[in-house]
Every structure is written in structure tokens, then in C-alpha cells.
């Protein structure tokens, strides 16, 4: 019984450390890898004024073997007027606007994979079909044959027309007003199979022409990839920009109003404040752009505040586009030209090249770009001269964010070394008790010739056994908890009723069983029974309390940056932890082992 307690204690400690370190490491890995998804490995940045002739810089960088791809970005802040709510008073969101070249941007970042919508969501599609059918109702009705109308009537009238012959139905159709028939079509539009049957290929072709996305999901993706809708510039916003995208407890997204507020159906207004060459604010610039798709990078702050827009559009909004200065007296005379500018160039490393090596290569490319500009008499920001110009790796760029996370993990490690101490102290105490219990046996062993070292050996082996068993159990438990983290978290945020009830029932039956089986007033079993049922009842009541207060959300994406909890075990740390636990157990066992070896055999044998 006592050794099991020790094994259990070790297992719990190991599991605890493994879970915490795994989550922290997973978190750090997500931070690190999100760099690749969001902005490649190295960033050349020159905010606000921008790097002119960036195409030459991109060419110089991609000429380096270390760089796999490079892409220019213009970033700025602005407001996005959302399409919701219905009515005139629309909401606006503060937004970070990234002007991108979609093709090369997708080559540098994981943009293509972050696109949320691979097709029109089912609810939205039904909503859109309804709109579409109502808009084209008269046209559709004109194109329908009599038998199609009969089918329409049969399908919308349900069982009322059961048994009626086609002739009867045809007579009813003739009596129906066009408006009634249009309403029937609208009603049927929610059922894709039925409406397809009634309209036939010709009718569907009419709808497909008006809204090709509904019948061809590829368009939804390619719209997102090219930042276009119906061939015109469009934007892709982060999934959490729109308040109409609601995260469900299962981690999926529901679109509010039964799928109505799906952003790619609508358009929004982007407004920015351009800055002139002297740093002063100019008149606000606005542009209305349709939404093409939405992206979900998994990094909450990005998904909540960024919108991707074609680079030319943002250059116009920020006055970073190519411009000419003309003589006010003679507008045909061009005094000077200013090339288009980009505030960032993102670079992705070739596979196997680390960010630091790439950084050096990009630096070299920038120097070439500088020299070429100097020869041609063009002005570009200079490395080492212009303080705003930076060539940074993703980790350097986000040091203020990654640094604290790393520190947090180290802090956790340190704090949890204290758990090891607790674990060690527990083993010392438990083994001390075992030695006390086995004093007589130790005397017996000495009397048959066992050496003191032999006695120490027995207890060290015992410690090794307890430590190993506990560590393995802890790894198992840690793995179980870590990989099921989402499910556990979910059940905490929405605890099922049956669980609380089950705990209360278990508590009640344990209490009853204890009272029923009270053995002639023995105190210990009574106490254990009562305590056990109290603990069970406590868990049950706590669970119900959490439930009644709407659950607790531990992993709030707004706090932890990512929308999902890391749930893979950090095996390196896990084995180190387990090894540490085994070593701690053996060391802890050494203390009582030494006491056991010091036991006077004569005293021990007299001990009855």
C-alpha cells in the first residue's frame, strides 16, 4: 500500500511537469513557426516612407541562393467599415492593412494554407440561393416548362397534392399568380437538390452565371489567392476581424444570422490617413473593396486585426504609388518622378538555410541594391545611415513578444523544480516509514549475514523501482492529458450535466456504503469513506457551479495569441523529466537507506 502511494506521487509530479512544459514548449513552437506562416524568415523594413524601386531589391534578394522567395508589402493602419449591422449605422474596426502581391506573398508565407473558406459555407449558400432565386424569379419562371411547374407545386405543397393527377395539378398551376409561383421558388431554394430538380440545367445555368461561386468552390479559393472578386480588386480579412464569425466551443466557426453575414458576400470601406514626405497628415483616403475570402493564421492578434489588400491599392491609399511632379505652369513638363514604394520586403529562406544565414545574405543583397542605386543616381534608404531601415529575422522582429514567452517557460521550469523537491521529500517520508516498518526485517537480514551495503542496495533498488514505475506512469498520464487538452478544456468551458450528477451519485453511494459497512466502530475506514465521498461531492458541486456560471474558459485566444491550445507532448522534456524523477527517487531513497543500514541488528531483533 505504502509503495503504491510513492509510485502514485511520482507519477503525478512527472505528469504535471510534462503537461506544463509541453504546453509551454508547444506555445513557443507555435510562436516560432507562426513567423514562417505570417512573414517568412527575414524582413527588410522601412516603415511609413517606404523603399523605392523595391522591385530591384526583390530581384537582388531572390538572386541569392539562400533566399527562396521575396515579396514586397506596404503596411499601414486604418479603419475598415464593416457591412454589418443591417441599416445605415455600420460598425468600423481599427485595422492593420497589408498591401501584398498575392502570388509572391503566397510563395514567402503560408498564406494559401491560411485561407479559411474553401467553398461557400452551407448555411450561407442557402441564404445566397434564396436571394438569387428571388432576384431572378421572373426570368426563371419564364424559362420553366409546365411539367417543371407541376413539380414545383408538388414539392412545395407537400402532402396536400398527394394522389392528385398531373392534370389536376396543372389546373392549379394555371390558377396560381406569378407572385405565388415566385414565392414557391424562393421557398424551394433552401433545398439544393429540389431546386436543382425543378429548375433543370437551364435554370441552374442562369443562377450559376449570376453567382458562379455557389456552383464552383474553386472560385472561392482562387478569389482569395488572387485578391480579386469578379475580376476586380478585393481584400482578404483575418477571420476575427468580422464579429459575425463566432468561434464555437468545438473550435469551429459559425456565421451569425444563419450564415447571412459571410464576409465574402459583402464589401467594406478602407480608410487611411496618408502621410506626406515631411511627415504631416494628409486628407484621409478611402476605397470600397469587396471581401474575397478570410484567412485564419491561428495567431489571434493577427487574425483579429489584419486585412490583405492588393499592393497597388494600398500604395494609392498611402500615397506610396509612383507619381510625377509636374510644373504648375506647364502640366506637360515633368519635374521629377517618384517610383512606387514598399514598406517591407519579406524573404523566405531556402530549405535548410537558417534565418541568421539568410539575414546576412539579404544584407549583402541590400548593399548591392544600394550601390546600383548610387550609380544610377537614385535615392534609397542606406544601411547604417537611416535608422528606420532594418533587416531583421522574425525572432528579432518579435523579440519583445517571444522573449517573455521564453522567460515564462524558464520560470515554469524553475518553479516546477520545486515540485521535484516536493516529490523527493514525499519519497523520503514514505521510505522513512517503510524503513520504520521493516526495522525487524532489516535485523533479520543482518543476522543471516546481509551487509550494510546490501541493505542500502535493497532500498536504492526499491527507490529505482518506485521512480521508474512512477516516471513511466507519469509519462503515460502526461501524454493522456496533453493530447486530450482540447477536449478537457472544452469540457471545462461547457461541463456536461451528467458528469456533475455522476459525481454526486458516486459521493452519495460511497457515503451510504460507508455507513452500511461500518465495521464495529473502526474509525479509519469510516473516515476514509466520509472523506472520499466529501471529495467526490466537492468535485460534483464544483462542476455544477462552473456549469451554472457558464463554464470557465482557460484558453482565451485574446490572451494567449493562438486560437488553439498546444497539445503535443514535448518528448525531449518528457524523458528528461522522467529521468529526473528516477534520479530524485533514488537520491531520496538513499536517505532512509542509510538509516536502514545504521540500524543496530540486536535492537531490531528485540523489536517486537
Amino acid at each position: 500500500m505504502i509503495p503504491f502511494l510513492a509510485v502514485f506521487a511520482v507519477a503525478l509530479c512527472v505528469a504535471l511537469v510534462i503537461v506544463v512544459i509541453s504546453v509551454m514548449t508547444g506555445f513557443l513552437d507555435m510562436v516560432r513557426s507562426s513567423g514562417k506562416t505570417l512573414m517568412g524568415d527575414v524582413v527588410v523594413s522601412y516603415p511609413i516612407r517606404g523603399i523605392p524601386d523595391y522591385e530591384r531589391l526583390v530581384a537582388a534578394i531572390t538572386a541569392k541562393p539562400e533566399a527562396a522567395a521575396a515579396t514586397p508589402v506596404v503596411d499601414t493602419w486604418g479603419l475598415l467599415r464593416m457591412p454589418y449591422p443591417a441599416g445605415d449605422a455600420k460598425e468600423s474596426e481599427q485595422i492593420q492593412i497589408w498591401g501584398i502581391e498575392p502570388a509572391s506573398f503566397a510563395a514567402v508565407t503560408g498564406f494559401a494554407d491560411t485561407l479559411k473558406w474553401k467553398a461557400v459555407p452551407e448555411d450561407t449558400a442557402a441564404d445566397m440561393r434564396w436571394d438569387l432565386v428571388r432576384q431572378h424569379a421572373s426570368e426563371l419562371l419564364d424559362g420553366m416548362s409546365e411539367s417543371q411547374k407541376v413539380l414545383l407545386l408538388r414539392l412545395t405543397a407537400r402532402d396536400e397534392l398527394d394522389g392528385a393527377t398531373d392534370d389536376v395539378v396543372r389546373r392549379i398551376v394555371a390558377k396560381e399568380s406569378p407572385r405565388d409561383l415566385q414565392n414557391r421558388l424562393g421557398l424551394l431554394s433552401f433545398n439544393l437538390a429540389d431546386i436543382t430538380k425543378v429548375l433543370g440545367p437551364e435554370g441552374i445555368a442562369v443562377l450559376a452565371e449570376a453567382a458562379p461561386r455557389l456552383w464552383n468552390p474553386d472560385i472561392v479559393i482562387s478569389d482569395g489567392l488572387t485578391l480579386k472578386r469578379n475580376g476586380r480588386p478585393a481584400m482578404v480579412s483575418g477571420l476575427h476581424v468580422s464579429k459575425a464569425n463566432l468561434r464555437t466551443s468545438t473550435g469551429d466557426y459559425a456565421i451569425s444570422a444563419g450564415g447571412h453575414w459571410w464576409m465574402p458576400r459583402f464589401q467594406g470601406t478602407l480608410t487611411t490617413l496618408p502621410i506626406d514626405s515631411r511627415g504631416g497628415l494628409l486628407e484621409p483616403e478611402s476605397v470600397i473593396l469587396p471581401f474575397a475570402n478570410e484567412f485564419s493564421s491561428g495567431v489571434y492578434i493577427i487574425d483579429q486585426s489584419r486585412v490583405m489588400v492588393p499592393i497597388e491599392t494600398v500604395q494609392r491609399l498611402t500615397h506610396l504609388d509612383a507619381s510625377e511632379r509636374v510644373d504648375p505652369d506647364d502640366p506637360t513638363r515633368v519635374l521629377s518622378t517618384t517610383p512606387a514604394r514598399a514598406t517591407m520586403v519579406l524573404v523566405r529562406a531556402t530549405d535548410g538555410v537558417d534565418a541568421e544565414t539568410l539575414q546576412a545574405a539579404v544584407r549583402a543583397a541590400y548593399e548591392e541594391f544600394e550601390q546600383a542605386a548610387d550609380k544610377a543616381g537614385r535615392k534609397v534608404p542606406l544601411l547604417g545611415r537611416d535608422p528606420g531601415l532594418g533587416i531583421l529575422t522574425w525572432e528579432q522582429q518579435n523579440a519583445s513578444f517571444i522573449g517573455p514567452v521564453e522567460k515564462e517557460r524558464e520560470l515554469m521550469r524553475t518553479l516546477f523544480s520545486i515540485v521535484y523537491l516536493v516529490c523527493g521529500a514525499l519519497i523520503v517520508a514514505i521510505f522513512w516509514a517503510i524503513v520504520y516498518e521493516k526495522t525487524r526485517d532489516i535485523g533479520i537480514l543482518r543476522s543471516i549475514g546481509a551487509t550494510r551495503i546490501g541493505i542500502v542496495h535493497i532500498f536504492l533498488l526499491y527507490g529505482l523501482f518506485v521512480g521508474t514505475l512512477g516516471a513511466l506512469g507519469g509519462i503515460g498520464l502526461g501524454w493522456l492529458v496533453t493530447t486530450n487538452m482540447e477536449a478537457i478544456h472544452e469540457s471545462m468551458s461547457d461541463p456536461p450535466l451528467w458528469l456533475g450528477v455522476a459525481f454526486l451519485v458516486a459521493a452519495a453511494s460511497m457515503l451510504l456504503w460507508t455507513i452500511w459497512n461500518r465495521q464495529n466502530g473502526k474509525l479509519l475506514p469510516m473516515l476514509l469513506g466520509v472523506l472520499g465521498s466529501l471529495v467526490l461531492a466537492g468535485i460534483g458541486v464544483g462542476e455544477l457551479l462552473i456549469r451554472s456560471s457558464g463554464g470557465i474558459v482557460l484558453w482565451d485566444p485574446a490572451v494567449y495569441y493562438f486560437t488553439e491550445i498546444p497539445h503535443t507532448v514535448d518528448w525531449t522534456s518528457a524523458w528528461i523529466t522522467a529521468g529526473g524523477a528516477v534520479i530524485c527517487s533514488v537520491i531520496a531513497a538513499a536517505i532512509p537507506a542509510a538509516r536502514a543500514a545504521d540500524i543496530d541488528p540486536v535492537g531490531a531483533l528485540r523489536y517486537e
Binding site: I448, G449, A450, T451, V602, R606
Partner: protein, 228 residues
């Protein structure tokens, strides 16, 4: 005449009980010849067990309190490790309260001394345990725990354990003290049988009738030995 197998010379042993020093042995001199069955008679608390522990190398006499000779050489001159080996190979203890390990089976208890350093080794120990337990009528009890045995069966297991490493001397401390007369008699028969097989035996008891079964007996009175 050859040296006696075991010899004590003016043995003194004092215990401390709190602040009080209690002299238990005040100069015990005796010898046991090889192949002899010696009984040490004494009332309870007379120091019989202490004498046995000293002879078995479990305890050491007071500083300057005499010496114990085994085959003519003093135990005091031996290192802790040599004493461990002495306990493993030369002597075998039998106690009044059996002192079996409760977690181990009868067979494992009887094998145990074979596994300590200096023991005969696991294979030989198993063979010898089977043989001894068989001879003592315990073959049907090999895999039972001590708590499932009767007192007599426990003591027979303890004797098998004491003989596991083929010792020179059996040191028996009131081996029948916890048993009824008939069972005690059976145990004494067993010990006598071992003695007839050539084993040297030192048995302490408070019972004159039991001491009578020995070749010779000495009496421990007031910390000193007298022939009886």
C-alpha cells in the same frame, strides 16, 4: 586436543538504559567443541540472548570486555565485512519468535541466506532449501506465507533457513519458547537430529528439561557462567 570451535573469555557487555548503565554479562568464559550440543541455562533477563548475539557476531563486547575466539582467532580483530561473512557462513541463528520475512514464501525465506554475499548462491540455495524443507516435512507448504503456517511449521522454516549455508554452529535462542510442549519436542528432535549429523549447537533456554537434551549444559547466573 584441538582448539574448541567457539570460545569466550571473560566476556563483558553493558547496556545503557537511558542514563543507567546495566551490566548484563560480567565476565563469561566458556567453550564449545566442534560437534558438541551445549545448552546455556538462565532465567529470563539473565543475558542468555546477549551471549548468543555476541557469539554470533551480531554484537560486540564492551571495550576491554574480553574476547570471543572462533577457531582460535578473535572476532574483535575482524572487519565489519568479515563479520558479515562470519554470520553468513559460520553461524546460523534460530530465534524464539521465528523472525521470518512476512512478504516472502517459506521457500524464499529458507533460500535467503544463500543469496547474501558469501552465501552458497541462488541455485545451490534453492536446492538446499528444497532438501531441508522436504526433510522437515514442509514440502506442501513451500509457497505459503509465514502467516499461513502454525508455530511449529514457522520454527522448522527458521531452522531450514539457519542451515541454508551449511554453518558450523547453530545458535538457537529459546527455539521452543513460543510453542506447546509437543511441538517444542518435535523442534528439539529436529535440532538433535542435526546435531547427530555433526552440527555444533549452542542453545539457550530457561527450562532445565530442555537443557537436559544437550550433551552438556552451563548456567548463566548474575552475568557469570557456572557448570550445572
Amino acid at each position: 586436543m584441538s582448539n574448541p570451535l567457539l570460545q569466550t573469555h571473560e566476556l563483558c557487555k553493558t547496556y545503557r538504559l537511558g542514563r543507567v548503565e546495566v551490566p548484563v554479562l560480567k565476565g563469561c568464559s566458556m567453550h564449545v567443541n566442534s560437534g558438541e550440543f551445549l545448552a546455556v541455562l538462565g532465567s529470563s533477563g539473565s543475558g542468555k540472548s546477549t551471549l548468543l548475539h555476541l557469539m554470533g557476531g551480531l554484537d560486540r563486547p564492551d571495550v576491554g570486555g574480553g574476547e570471543i575466539l572462533h577457531d582460535g582467532s578473535s572476532l574483535a580483530s575482524r572487519s565489519a565485512r568479515q563479520l558479515d561473512r562470519y554470520r553468513a557462513r559460520t553461524v546460523g541463528f534460530v530465534f524464539q519468535f521465528y523472525h521470518l520475512l512476512p512478504e516472502l514464501s517459506v521457500l524464499e525465506n529458507a533460500m535467503l541466506p544463500g543469496l547474501v554475499p558469501g552465501g552458497v548462491g541462488a541455485v545451490e540455495a534453492r536446492k538446499r532449501a528444497h532438501e531441508l524443507l522436504g526433510r522437515f516435512g514442509l514440502e506442501h507448504r513451500l509457497h505459503h506465507r509465514p502467516r499461513e503456517l502454525s508455530g511449529g511449521e514457522r520454527q522448522r522454516t527458521a531452522i531450514a533457513r539457519a542451515l541454508a549455508n551449511n554453518p558450523d554452529v547453530l545458535l538457537a535462542d529459546e527455539p521452543t519458547g513460543n510453542l506447546d510442549v509437543q511441538t517444542g519436542g518435535e523442534i528439539l528432535d529436529l535440532i538433535q537430529e542435526a546435531h547427530q549429523g555433526g552440527l555444533t549447537i549452542v542453545m539457550v533456554t530457561h527450562d532445565q528439561r530442555i537443557a537436559d537434551r544437550a550433551d552438556r549444559s552451563v548456567q548463566l547466573i548474575d552475568g557469570r557462567l557456572q557448570p550445572s
